[in-house]
Symmetry: C2
Subunit: 363 residues, 2 copies
């Protein structure tokens, strides 16, 4: 192992551009390993202190690394014969995981050889393997998937859960608030992120029981965020809050609906711009501005679902993403690791669950 292995400082944050090691599952994703290596190269150019452990078919990986000479010196390739297939059920993948790059990359985090793992592979298998290998943080029953999305304020919003658990109780939603607030702090320079619960109205009486109970708890406890109240679907992209908390059923539906509505609007707009010669000419003139617009809301810049609640950092990249998308997922990992996410959040969850106002309402 090279000298940068073992740089993981699990329970404390490290300074910006201090060495950090990211384990990559090189074979996960539709365009792997090309997209994975291209993503690593982008991050490496921005920040040469980031180092990589790359797990997968070494022949294919070296073929890609050959085109990225400088990255090669910051990376170590760990050959793995097998890899988890996209169509494998999590239970099957778990049984057959020995020798796969995905498992080896997760184990690198568990063994403190890497600070975080990033994979674009089978989501269910990654979650199952990460849970089994990294285990849950003390006191947390269910992990959540969190992601950033663009907001009109210009600052990305954190949202969780995006589908790890379809229905959860009030206590779990409260834990999600802590997991999400610390995540927001790791990605943005804010000391007390505002946290909202996704609901169907702003009044106290609105919404399902578990959401109203979570609101009652969050109004009383001290946690590393500021409870804002309920937020509705149309406020999500306005940046009304820094962190949006909900169960995985609502979160997954909201996120995918927002993506779909964005695509729908752009497609309709494109159709309109091609509908008459004047508009077509207008489109050409506006081309530069439109490309900038597209770049601002480029979903690749928000790629990466972070598995929160585990005792180690694991980030899922979208399977279809290219190098630009994969680089975004790696950046999430680097920021979380540098911020000492696991240590901070373990402490904050412990603080939450020992407060009388929490205990009174959950037991």
């Amino acid at each position: 192992m090279s000298d940068f292995i073992g740089s993981r400082s699990k329970y404390s944050g490290s300074a910006p551009s201090s060495p950090v090691t990211i384990a990559l599952d090189a074979m996960g994703g539709d365009h792997a390993p090309e997209s994975v290596i291209a993503g690593a190269e982008i991050v490496h150019k921005e920040d040469p202190s980031v180092r990589f452990l790359i797990f997968g078919d070494e022949g294919k990986i070296f073929a890609q690394l050959g085109r990225h000479k400088s990255l090669k010196n910051s990376a170590k390739v760990m050959h793995c014969d097998k890899h988890v297939r996209d169509d494998e059920k999590p239970s099957v993948a778990l049984r057959n995981s020995r020798g796969t790059g995905m498992r080896a990359a997760i184990e690198a985090v568990e063994q403190a050889n890497a600070d975080a793992v990033v994979s674009g592979g089978n989501t269910g298998a990654l979650m199952a393997l990460a849970k089994t290998t990294l285990k849950m943080l003390p006191g947390i029953h269910r992990p959540a998937i969190a992601s950033l999305f663009p907001a009109f304020t210009g600052h990305p919003t954190v949202m969780l859960d995006l589908g790890a658990n379809v229905l959860v109780d009030a206590e779990t939603l409260t834990q999600f608030a802590v997991l999400g607030a610390v995540f927001a702090k790791s990605q943005r320079n804010i000391s007390t992120p505002s946290v909202g619960l996704l609901n169907v109205g702003s009044e106290d009486t609105k919404g399902p029981d578990h959401v109203r109970s979570a609101a009652a708890i969050l109004s009383q406890v001290t946690f590393p965020g500021r409870y804002h109240g309920f937020v509705e679907g149309d406020q999500l992209l306005m940046g009304a809050v820094d962190v949006v908390v909900c169960d995985g059923y609502a979160g997954n539906i909201a996120l995918k609906t927002a993506e779909g509505a964005g695509r729908f609007t752009v497609a309709h707009f494109r159709k309109a711009m091609k509908s008459d010669p004047l508009a077509l000419a207008g489109g050409v003139l506006a081309g530069f501005a439109l490309r900038r617009f597209k770049k601002q809301v480029d979903p690749r810049l928000y790629n990466g679902g972070v598995f929160l609640g585990l005792n180690g950092l694991c980030i899922k990249s979208h399977g279809g993403s290219d190098g630009i998308g994969f680089a975004s997922a790696i950046r999430l990992a680097v920021n979380l690791a540098r911020h000492g996410y696991i240590g901070h959040v373990a402490e904050d969850i412990n603080n939450l669950m020992s407060q009388e106002s929490f205990l009174a309402q959950t037991t």
Copy 2:
């Protein structure tokens, strides 16, 4: 009462442009009664066979009607001293409802003096009053709010529930499928609408119990639609199905998120078009096409939440809507009445609930 009163044919559809009477709560909405009368005027011009019973302050109503001479002959004004305030709690509104235009308009439907009621007033109060006055259809435990929204196919999609009930069981979701399918048939010329359940994935194993159970029932029963399977948030606006069924928590969040994402995209795009002189010029050239684009996705054209499951037709217009928006809500009412919605759906719900495959999975 004028001769057009009593035209309601509750249990059978009537031919296109046969007389239909719509009761209007003239004082409900931010711009009432102006928006209400303007909406009635738009529909009256399209279809002079639609007649109106207009409930509210007759002084204010006649002041508006004076500007719409032809409409005046198709309308009868019923003076009401009181009206339900927007900030009144449903329980309070219910107690104080005697003498309000909202209640009188609903009673006109209950007494078969009108075929449907349209109100832009307090949603909670309208639902409470409609439930108490019109009662539920036999076998239905909970009403749902349904609405149309634009889809990329060009045909609007029906979605329910949009917030009447935050959480429901599988049996109720199955009833929503029937309520929604017959609604789709009333608004579009389709004999067997496709119906999808909103979920977080397309596989059978995905999602909450009540959604998976509803899927199992809908795959086996005969109902006035064709069960398509699960649909995800990003497919909603693609027009993947004619009817989308979900609980009111998910439905409200999806609808509002789609609205917010559409506004977000348009606002970002506008900002880009104003960002440099070339783009500004391009925007001018493309002006006509852009206005057409805006018109296609104009939320006013999709205004109107229909309370389904009641033994009478009640449509909620958005409180902030203008005449164009209010006209859309009235059109929903006219189509439902002409299609004989209540009679058809009562029969179809009865058919659903007497099928062995339904009974086996719900009892």
